[in-house]
Amino acid sequence: MKLHDLSPVPGSKKEKIRKGRGAGARRGEKTGSGTKGQKKRFKVPVYFEGGQTPLYRRLPKRGFTPLQRGPQTEVINVRSLNKFDDGETIDPRRLEEAGLISSTEHVKLLGDGSLEVSLTIEVHAASESAVQKVEDCDGTVKIISSTDTGS
């Protein structure tokens, strides 16, 4: 065996087709692209109008992209919680059912007013005074993560 005795897998090497070499050749003129000229060379965008100001530039711009907002915080004060029973567990879903909030996305408990019942409260955030007031009534405040909306 010598170097020149070796050959690759039969059929694995193909000679490149030389397109566009003369009008008489089978792959002359349109070279398999179906047409001549600009459309033979590359894709012309459908919105291109031959150089005339195209529709999308002839008409004025309108509209805008609305601001992307983060989660909206719902606020609830401890004074609204007196309607619940002693010992009850309150989560955002429960608050929504009671009609105190309209979104369970992000709920913060604040300390306005006074609290008379002992509750276990699950919210996304709570103020210090709110926590104080809940604990004064032998209740607890549990902070849950923002994706959690309660059972």
């Binding site: 065996m1 010598k2 170097l3 070796l6 050959s7 690759p8 897998v9 694995s12």
Partner: protein, 201 residues
């Protein structure tokens, strides 16, 4: 004194039953040659050719064909369109398994062609090209392209051999498929055969 003899088939049992895989050997050889390739070809495009880019004559009325630049690729002395840059990468890679299989297959083919020799009992006190030439002459190998594979231990042998025009020198652990195919005789010295076998255990 030193002596060259054919390596016995039983010594080459690790490869001489291996079936020939011609396409794979071919690929390994082509890859080896491609990896040796220094990309020397380099050419100036129209931006690199010396000359100013002035319009040679006016567009209309001269009776000559329109032209915009004398360094255009259409002109003699103009730049080359899409020419080699000298920065192309021609290297090819084979997976470890492919390399191994190609080498083993090539060794098998050459083993069946009886091109493996053993150089034994070399005892040199100083480098001596004449002595080694005599050894190869006795073995009728001087008209061949010999590849001497060493274990890298015998410095005196390497010095004695490297000026022989018909002989090339290579440490056995650097052996690749290309070397096996490209040389007409493979002579192993010292521990080279053991080291070669160890590669395929």
């Amino acid at each position: 004194m030193a002596d060259i003899k054919q390596i016995d088939d039983s010594e080459l049992s690790f490869c001489n039953e291996v079936e020939m895989n011609e396409p794979l050997i071919h690929q390994a050889v082509v890859a080896f040659e491609a990896n040796k390739r220094a990309d020397v070809a380099s050419v100036r495009n129209r931006a690199r050719v010396a000359g100013r880019n002035k319009k040679p004559w006016r567009q209309k009325g001269t009776g000559r064909s329109r032209h915009g630049s004398r360094i255009s690729p259409l002109w003699v002395g103009g730049g080359r369109a899409h020419g080699p840059t000298g920065e192309q990468d021609h290297s090819q890679r084979l997976t470890r398994k492919m390399k191994r299989k190609a080498l083993l297959s090539a060794l098998g083919v050459r083993a069946r062609e009886d091109v493996f020799f053993e150089l034994a009992e070399v005892e040199l006190d100083e480098p001596s090209t004449a002595t080694l030439h005599e050894v190869f002459d006795d073995a009728d190998l001087v008209d061949e392209n010999i590849l001497l594979l060493t274990d890298g231990q015998d410095r005196l042998l390497e010095l004695s051999v490297r000026n022989l025009p018909y002989c090339r020198l290579l440490k056995v652990d650097l052996l690749s498929t290309y070397h096996v195919v490209a040389n007409s005789a493979l002579v192993l010295a010292g521990e080279a055969l053991e080291q070669l076998k160890a590669r395929f255990e």
